[in-house]
Symmetry: D2
Subunit: 382 residues, 4 copies
């Protein structure tokens, strides 16, 4: 960074109050490097919870609605520079719109919106405002993922031939949504709040984003077979897809929330004509790399990574594990830098997931669901 | 075994002479337990190679053609009990037919035949003779695979929901078939010798067989996208498939001969409503097993396996690695026991891959190729 | 916690300015949960560096000496609640003494002091003041380490028979201390600043602490063979030790800074009469556990851990890796809770490494060096 | 090999009858390559067992005593070329002596003899006869071990600084020797049959041999702490040792038969000034290798190994696991080749463990036990 922040940025949050672990995750990640501080929130639709959650976090300002917050913060002399949106999916777009219109930068959880149409509207709105938008595809913040992307970009893998990506969990293998106290399972399996997909929407989008982020290529069409294995459930809890990429590479994407024993197993393998690589989110500091005809190498964060973004995203010497918080913090770091550049009249640099990736994710969801309803016919992502 | 062999069985081999590593593999595996001895061979279509190869192995009898061998051995007072066929694919059926007609039991390399029609003819022929036939789906001989099968069979996994199988190699990532001295690559990529598929035929069939062997279920239909990545090649060197099983389980099968860095990476994961398991051929003595809500367990050959077939197929105490030879030897052991039972007037027990699995394999090849030519439409395996 | 903080605690730091990564580590870890904020520092003995470092971190108050800082903060109406000491070893005790005398709580990097005598003096001083002291044995903060400790404590392992601990790095395998710009290597290999040991002092103490923390037992005597492999170096860069524990368990401790290819490989294995367990710092969210006669189990942070401290120290759902920062933050969390208890007139709970562990570490260093000079005779740790 | 065998070698075995798994292991390994056949045996001291065991294996000649066998086979026109000794330790030397005197080559299980004195006598006897002797340090037959040895020999590791070797099992963690039907546990824990050590004698010798085989160096002295953890047992069931090598390298050797959960965990790590490597017997086809400043590489049998002995000892393409049988078969292969050279008047080549390694092993046992009785003082291996 050529210039530095002269004060910590001020952040607000919508959603994420007590009981929603994702709020604490974003608070920790956004404040981790000491470049920003959470100072305002509309942390819950329940006023008592909102107030109490804000007090727990020592927030100076607490609001009971995001609409009120957007207006008030925009008018406040020390108002927030950016808002973090951690609500259920169906609220993403309206919250984002309110803050965009108020001129406040936005970090939003994925998926971007309730459906593709809403996402496109948001894209339209954003194009009319000088506001930055980031999307929490947190996995792209790992240094080893940056290194993978850099290797592909500089041609070390040659022509990409095959991409295998998977994202498996098991937390919905029982009908948790039938327990009244499981809010998380409740809204994620509810079409009114989650949209047209549960599994693909929640984690399939992460997997697809990772493919496109590392390869720099786009998924051109999918042939998808979505399933609902747990009785009584409306939305998909599992999906298998064939992928075709614009460059001619082929592959599979498989995701599941009912894969017994799996925690949060996001894994990608990319095979090129000159080399291949493999990365797993659960051991994020290792990148397996194999140049043709040579042994597999174990590239390690803090030790053997050499791309600028990988180095910039590493805070500790090798062998000191960095994890999910630091990955998300890396995305925040770039987002904050862009805010700083914008505020000082310089052009933003990007390099973190934003509106484009958000729209791509919604297109993936739409294409996968459409393909599946057509008995796994190929459907283009346009 | 209630009764025991009173002499070692006598074996012959067709194909497998010098330069074809698969011949030595079958010799070692079939003789490993001291229950059989290779005594005759038509080891090469090149007479000099055939003679020299037989001499290297100290074989009493060497032939220049399999037809001659079948007739002569059937007439010999100490003729062979069984023949091992290790020729390229296009010869499997004619060699097998010759020996079946001569009343000699047959162990054949997979795939069973050149195409599905030929396989069905062979099945028809076999039904008319009192001859046993085994197919070298060698991976089903590993004790950990037996244990996996037993766990599914006794319901430990509950309802199978998802099956992921993959078989990745990289040995054809360069156009080796253009080198005149690479016979192996030459015939495998030659439609006149390999049939309508290279990758699916050679290793996709192993993967599909493993799915059906462990689950006891059948693949009902496939949606396949076959690719040929190496320029100048006619047949597929990579494939991705969606699977549907008769029971309602879903899954993917992906195989490749151009996956840079992969050696012989056959791996299967099965997710059920009660538990899941995972096995990899390259670490064959470990079976990962996870009952719902409990930790992953590492079941180990010689230590924690408990099913009868797993125990019967284990020759060493835990921690003494057993590998590919011993796996194939386990299939031979059951095949030899059936020969003994047959020779002593008792009913054969089966329990090793045979004609049925061979026909299933050819059906898989046919369905995958058909599906791919129809732009990955679902095709039934009947 | 029965009562909660009503404001974030105020922290100061001595040492840790620009170029010393350990300062940023402590800042991030101590602030991670939003319960404390760094507000003052004497970050470097170089006044310009001290000032600039404080500005980078937006610290309200910067000092040029720790003595000045101790006095000023004690007198300040919003003075710091606790100080973090991240200087080289030879300054630990004098800095700590200054703040103890000023009535300010202390978190100190390990080893506690320059030598055992100094450590004992500090222990004496501390006993005369109502000040809390914590020591940054950061590895004990991992949830999986807590789980291990709990398993031993509740008898799941039976009688402990064998303990194998190792801590291997390679960062000193070349004579980095001969490069003038490597301050870290410079002071760690300098007897005037590091004390009588480099490798044992820096990382052997961590390994020994981990043994005693998990087992709840004490190392009674060591038989140590220290080595200096890199020419021109005075202090040890490698050590191998036999261990005897008070309970009768035996074991080895091996540590190295010249073990080519090793990053920060702290690993412990504990074998009991009923079960055993294994943990590695580089994959900190997994705890391997094996009850006698059963398979190895993979216990995972956020999934299968059940001890209260392990659960309390977990911030994310399973499969979202937590690492070094979060481990150290767990120690801070307990330390801060004790500060809060003390400030509200309640008794402190402990549960984090402190003066006792610091003195034990110095005793280990002294015993190991003495043993080695006596050609690896047994030396008691008293 | 410049010349080839004109017939399979004829082998005999002493010990190894029914119930002793080690007999079948040697039969399979020695016959694996089709270069030798077991034709005679004195398989048990129990005549009925001896006869039945020989019949099970279709052996033409069965004896009731090894003395009778040695004499008869020496006189037989088609007498055995070599004998395999698989008895308990206390018989090794007398059996070996009988066959040496009869001019028959000997493959003996380790340890070589009951004690060091007996080993030295045997060495003296052997020097007076033109008989070859091999010792079953089976682990040195793995291709990855050969590769490791070759890397050290050609200087790729630079100066060896640190060697860590361990061999852990748990099969004696309960007092199995008190069960009358456990012959194996019975004689191994019986000083009258096993000698002065159980654990060090049985597996510590393997570990020490592996160190010396790979490094080409010798262990000059040990500082050993032997333990007997299971009540009622006389001999050691666990040991920890500090090692010093003649070259100046240091290290540890730890072995156990009571390490809960361990199967047959032989593992070695060697750290040099230029590179390091690691190998584990339970995953024998992988060799981890790390040149200084570069990533860890995964060298794999059949793929990346390049030393002549590693290549010669590999029977399968990469990814087809080879295991314990093939490792032992590699030692037999070299031993048989030497027999062939000797029989055709050519000088033997060696390259497999023999009398020298056997004496070294007995010296290690003697030194370790002596050191331990002197409270872990350094004892030289001469």
């Amino acid at each position: 960074m050529t210039t530095q922040l002269t004060r910590p940025l001020r952040l607000g949050m919508v959603g994420g109050g007590r009981g929603a672990f994702i709020g604490a995750v974003h608070k920790i990640a956004s404040e981790l490097d000491g470049k920003a501080q959470l100072v305002a929130g509309a942390l819950s639709s329940d006023p008592a919870v909102a107030t109490q959650s804000a007090a727990n976090w020592f927030l100076p300002r607490s609001y009971h609605s995001f609409q009120e917050m957007a207006v008030a913060e925009a008018a406040h002399p020390e108002g927030i520079d950016a808002v973090i949106i951690t609500t259920p999916n169906h609220l993403h777009a309206s919250v984002a719109s309110a803050f965009i219109k108020a001129g406040i930068h936005v970090m939003c959880e994925k998926p971007l919106a309730f459906d593709l149409a809403e996402a496109l509207e948001l894209q339209q709105l954003l194009s009319q405002h000088s506001v930055l938008m980031a999307l929490a595809h947190s996995y792209t913040g790992y240094p080893a993922v940056e290194e993978a992307k850099a290797k592909v970009a500089c041609g070390e893998l040659g022509v990409i031939r095959k991409v295998l990506v998977e994202y498996h969990q098991d937390w919905l293998m029982q009908p948790l949504e039938q327990q009244s106290d499981n809010k998380q399972a409740g809204w994620r399996t509810d079409p009114a709040k989650a949209g047209i997909s549960c599994c693909v929407g929640d984690i399939g989008t992460h997997a697809a984003n990772l493919v496109e982020y590392i390869t720099g290529d786009t998924i051109s069409e999918v042939c998808a077979d979505l399933s609902t294995f747990v009785p009584g459930r409306t939305l998909d809890d599992d999906a298998n897809m064939l992928l075709r990429l614009s460059s001619g590479a082929k592959g599979t994407l498989t995701c599941s929330q009912i894969a017994c024993g799996e925690e949060n197993n996001l894994r990608i393998r990319i095979y090129g004509s000159k080399a291949s690589l493999e990365w797993q989110q659960q051991e994020p500091n290792s990148l397996r790399y194999c140049p043709a005809g040579q042994p597999w190498q174990l590239l390690r964060t803090g030790v053997n990574l050499s791309s600028p973004l990988a180095l910039a995203g590493t805070r500790l010497p090798g062998g000191h594990p960095e994890g999910y918080f630091e990955s998300l913090a890396n995305i925040y770091r770039r987002f904050f830098h862009d805010i700083h550049l914008t505020q000082t009249g310089q052009p933003a640099l990007g390099g973190y997931p934003g509106i484009t990736e958000g729209v791509r994710g919604m297109a993936l969801i739409a294409a996968a669901v459409t393909s599946s309803t057509k008995n796994a016919s190929w459907v283009s992502l346009k």
